[in-house]
């Protein structure tokens, strides 16, 4: 191992709750692609590793609505540090409703609010009577992205200067938006599940390069690319029902 290189540390936040929809496999796949990286799980009752060590990436997956409040409570004391990390270019990947934890607040149907970290000014609204299920096709820096949405909430507020990717088919942060997710520096937040990385190998390569891996190699490259190409062709078919 080249000792002059900065070690790659990937911290997964709260895997005991943030694990819905198979999204923990995002991290399992990254592990297979980045053998040189150190992967650390941080539970709700542990102090986050990003406080004591220089982490390269922070991941958090989807969770239940009540667990979002637990994640917010656990991270609130560290808001300033999180802002600093985003500013310094630390990679963040938040999938499903994990992104909402970083927003201003989450509004329930009765108008009550769960205050978020407030790192992003947008807010989320829940509608527990109407589940939103859809496919999504978009593009980020020339990379075609595919995925699924399965959620009770949407994000509102202007994200035109902070969106992750442009939507080609499907919807963005809310049903009338064509801009998906939130992005700031190397912070990527998206409702897209799939798991997102397993559906988007070209984005995995991009992510690995952000982590400092010079020649990223995908695990099971032939198979993951075959899966991606087939799904992309389906999603680009205008006859496909979203």
């Amino acid at each position: 191992m080249d000792k002059s290189k900065k070690p790659i540390i990937v911290e997964s936040l709260f895997p005991e709750i943030a694990n819905l929809f198979g999204d923990r496999m995002n991290i399992h796949y990254l592990k297979e692609c980045a053998a040189e990286a150190e992967f650390i799980d941080t539970s709700l009752t542990d102090p986050p590793v990003f406080l004591s060590r220089e982490v390269s990436m922070i991941y958090m997956g989807p969770m239940t609505e009540s667990q979002q409040a637990l994640a917010i409570d656990a991270l609130k004391p560290h808001k300033e540090k999180l802002v600093e990390l985003i500013g310094r270019g630390c990679v963040f990947l938040l999938t499903g409703n994990a992104m909402e934890v970083f927003e201003a607040y989450i509004e329930n149907e009765d108008g009550s609010r769960v205050e978020g970290l407030g790192i992003f000014p947008q807010h989320a609204k829940r509608d527990m009577l109407h589940r939103y299920n859809s496919l999504i096709l978009g593009e980020y820096e020339g990379i075609r992205l595919v995925g699924f949405k399965a959620q009770f909430s949407h994000t509102y507020g202007d994200n035109s200067g902070q969106y992750f990717y442009k939507v080609i088919r499907g919807c963005g942060i809310h049903p009338s938006s064509m801009l998906e997710g939130l992005k700031e520096n190397h912070f990527f937040g998206t409702y897209t599940v799939g798991p997102f990385l397993l559906l988007n190998p070209l984005f995995v390569k991009y992510l690995l390069s952000l982590l400092g891996i010079e020649k990223p190699v995908l695990a099971h490259e032939e198979t993951i690319m075959a899966s991606y190409r087939k799904r992309l062709a389906e999603f680009e078919n205008e006859k496909l029902k979203y």
Binding site: E16, M128, R131, N133, L135, G194, T223, S227, R231
Partner: protein, 461 residues
């Protein structure tokens, strides 16, 4: 509730619809009820109900438990209204009640047993007040409809009438907490030598204490979150059971400790899932008031119908079809666990594509990353033929379990899958199929059987 003209009209029209459907040999277990509710939105409230209603809900096992309860009650001379012929949503319940009522809406039977879809609780319980409400368990299910276990828990818990006596699984810390103010009876299975110290499944939705959010410790785990847990931080723990079962697989008995007594029943299954189902039914029947002798007599004649399984033997090779409910990671994990524990050299044909999505859209595949495909990474599973449109997705999932690539073969068309079987030295061929792919699975099985017979004939020739 007083019956109004709208209700009486809806009843008459829906009864006519039911009669017409039956005359044409159709299953009248859904449409008449749907029509009645459309014509009279509080139809379920106005129609007379049997004096005693038993409801059965839960993610897995509710149909099996319902069947056991109905059969046991019937064997003991009760005439039971039920919805087992059809739908378990509000329209199905309404159809059952229409069939079991007079033209003026009077109930013809005094007992009803209804299987209730978890999500339909909020449409049913405002009108149907079960005397006994049984919940088998709560797990993750379809991402589209059921989202996550907490969502389903909240729907059921908020809908259950306060007067219902709950029959709950103490080994399931999710459903055990339903409607905490209600009268409740718990059942559980005593520690077994097959228990695990911790969950080996990907999904365990009871990892943290619901009171203080610290990590739970498990005294034992059966599968996923089913087991006995406690919180080392605040003392929260699995509830004490009123019915504690001790299965004896050699004697084929199910000994149940209830109050200070021990009751012995015939054990009608060897699978842990169905032991829980049998125990659920026994706890309900005993609380309902049947004597030990009555329940014993009923279970001595009961058998679990394995309609989702078939086995055919050609020479020394068994060809087994087994339903693996797609989009349901728990059900699939259970089937994978069963396959890995089967003795002998095995080959598998996977045909798990959602047959509707592949025609109308593109299947949401997240569930395969919640299912324990890792169980298929066994030396004894020599080859896995992955068939269907989504074969590359399954192959990627299987590669992530560490299965060597040379053991995996992708075949886009299901019917071509048997051609890729090795057949040599194989003791068991498993055809694991999605719920709605049963017919295609039979075609694949027939082709597999034909190939095996051809091979045997060639050898003899």
């Amino acid at each position: 509730m007083k019956k109004n003209l709208r209700f009486l009209s809806a009843l008459l029209i829906s009864k006519t619809a039911m009669l017409t459907q039956k005359l044409f040999g159709m299953n009248a277990s859904y449409f008449p009820g749907k029509l009645a509710i459309k014509l009279c939105p509080d139809f379920l409230g106005q129609i007379d109900k049997p004096d005693t209603i038993i409801s059965v809900t839960g993610t897995n096992g509710k149909t099996t438990v319902c069947n056991m309860i109905i059969d046991a009650l019937t064997a003991n001379g009760f005439d039971v209204l039920n919805n087992r012929a059809g739908s378990n949503i509000n329209a199905g319940i309404a159809s059952a009640l229409i069939g079991g009522s007079t033209v003026t809406g009077k109930a013809k039977k005094s007992i009803a047993v209804f299987e209730i879809d978890e999500r339909s609780s909020k449409l049913i319980y405002p009108y149907i007040k079960p005397t006994y409400a049984v919940c088998t368990n709560l797990f993750r299910d379809s991402i589209h409809r059921n989202a996550h276990a907490e969502f389903i828990f909240r729907i059921i818990s908020d809908s259950l009438p306060s007067e219902s006596h709950l029959i709950l699984n103490a080994d399931d810390l999710i459903s055990a907490g339903l409607a905490p103010e209600n009268k409740r009876t718990y059942f559980s299975i005593a520690p077994m030598n097959t228990d695990l110290p911790e969950s080996i499944n990907i999904i365990n939705d009871m990892r943290i204490c619901p009171k203080c959010h610290h990590t739970l410790a498990y005294r034992y785990v059966r599968y996923h979150h089913i087991g006995n847990a406690y919180c080392p931080s605040c003392g929260f723990a699995s509830p004490e059971s009123d019915y504690i079962a001790m299965p004896d697989f050699e004697k084929h008995t199910l000994l149940i400790r209830h109050t200070a007594e021990e009751e012995c029943y015939p054990l009608i299954t060897n699978s842990i899932f169905n032991i829980y189902n049998q125990l659920t039914a026994i706890a309900l029947l005993r609380e309902f008031g049947l004597s030990v002798n009555q329940v014993q007599a009923a279970f001595s004649k009961l058998a679990i119908v394995e309609s989702r399984y078939s086995c055919e033997t050609v020479g020394s090779t068994q060809v087994i079809t087994h339903m693996a409910k797609g989009q349901n990671p728990i059900a699939c994990s259970c089937v994978f666990d069963y396959v890995r524990k089967e003795k002998g050299q095995k080959e598998i044909i996977l045909m798990l594509d959602d047959v509707f999505d592949r025609v109308n859209s593109s299947e949401i595949m997240t569930w395969i990353y919640d299912a324990d495909f890792e169980f298929l990474n066994e030396e004894s599973i020599r080859r896995i033929i992955i068939s269907g449109v989504r074969c590359e997705d399954y192959k990627l999932r299987l590669l992530m379990t560490g299965i060597p690539e040379e053991r995996l073969i992708c075949v886009p068309k299901e019917i071509d899958a048997p051609d890729s079987l090795s057949l040599f030295g194989t003791d068991k061929i498993f055809i694991l199929h999605e719920l709605y792919a049963a017919k295609e699975a039979m075609n694949v099985r027939d082709k597999t059987v034909a190939l095996l017979k051809n091979k045997a004939e060639r050898r003899e020739g």
